[in-house]
Subunit: 206 residues, 2 copies
DNA sequence: TTTTATACTAATCATATTGACAGTATGTAT
DNA sequence: ATACATACTGTCAATATGATTAGTATAAAA
């Protein structure tokens, strides 16, 4: 990747910030105004340099048609998620690229995001499964659920997270807590429904 | 929130999709072309209706100045993350807007993402804190850590997640597992360092 | 029955915006 | 010395775009 001058980097950053804040690229004259240029040509020259070096694209024929290339997004941002680092060899900084095994991207890690929702868990009925009071469980919305999987059940209007076992006639909602007992409900009960299967847990510590 | 007609919903969806795919709003004429209108006025009318009903904003004086309001973003549910739903009243579909309390956005929920990294946890030394084998812990990189907080320690090149207590002379790495004992290390040990404080846990179930 | 909202066609106007032309000046690599 | 990239000023034509005026038709609400 070709090196950018300080000025070009400034201008690329301005364009990226503008795109993030305005959901739209700046006009050439807005770039010129921002940097105090009295001619749009000055901004055009910088933009053309950035296009030539592979950091910008110009969508021809439309207003505000500047777009960042993937390289530019990498340079100015880093929206791939949170880096996952592996074992750390002595001496190397933790976030050195050598350690990065991938990225945690919540928009991808639980599969197709359509049909996912999250519920905040209240109570400690699932502590043995590592689900604590205040955690969010990620749920794939579906009345079908693997037998014995952890899911969200709606009983009389209340949402509850439990292991769900069905045998055709009755449903057992089994907590993962030694101090609590399973709940058994008739399958045909009108006040019962399954909201979906838990596919993830997210916790904000403290 | 005022109800949208089918046509208005279609047009709002088109605008939202266009914004996502092009990093820019469509021009009025592009909306008209997409729907086969022979006059831009038809698209203008729909857009004005959406503005009046609170789903769109027009940034005056610029090209491609259409923006989605928060309500519209909720309606078309773009990239804000996974919706968090609250209590569910009988009859209403789970993902109805009425239930949505917010969105889980990993890029925002742990604070400034700069300096965050994730480590996959091996072993069960922290099960009592709800951190299980295979979980990812989100770590805020810093050698400073609240006394007694859960953090990542590097001991002889290995990363380990423990509660970390320091008293100036020695460091105690305390597991959250009744079957395991604390490790005590001299503060001056050259093979020891703190990687950061755990601020979150993310688990992919099954 | 009258009004109001929806859903358009057709044509025109004003302005936002880009792109190009014609220069100047400075520093750097060959 | 002679290219060449950078870093600008100033102006103008062409086109992209939003906004408006004038009108048609349908259906629902007052």
């Amino acid at each position: 990747m070709e090196q950018l001058t300080d000025k070009q980097h400034e201008i690329l950053t301005f364009i990226a910030d503008y795109l993030r804040d305005h959901q739209s690229a700046p006009a050439i004259r807005e770039i010129a105004d921002h940097f105090g240029f009295s001619s749009p040509k000055a901004a055009t020259d910088h933009v053309n340099a950035l296009v030539r070096k592979g950091y910008l694209l110009k969508v021809a024929g439309i207003s505000r048609g500047l777009r960042l290339t993937a390289d530019a997004e990498e340079l100015v941002r880093g929206d791939e998620g949170i880096p996952v680092v592996g074992d750390v060899a002595a001496g190397l900084p933790i976030l050195a690229i050598e350690h990065i095994q991938g990225f945690l991207d919540m928009n991808a890690m639980f599969g197709n995001r359509k049909g996912l929702y999250a519920v905040r868990v209240r109570g400690n009925s699932m502590v043995n499964a590592g689900i604590h009071d205040g955690d969010h469980v990620i749920v794939r919305q579906s009345p079908m659920i693997e037998n014995g999987a952890i899911g969200v059940a709606y009983v009389e209007g209340d949402a509850t997270v439990k292991r769900i076992y069905r045998d055709g006639k009755s449903v057992r909602l089994v907590p993962e807590n030694d101090a609590m007992d399973p709940i058994v409900i008739d399958e045909t009960c009108p006040d019962f429904s399954v909201g979906g299967q838990v596919v993830g847990v997210v916790r904000n510590v403290r």
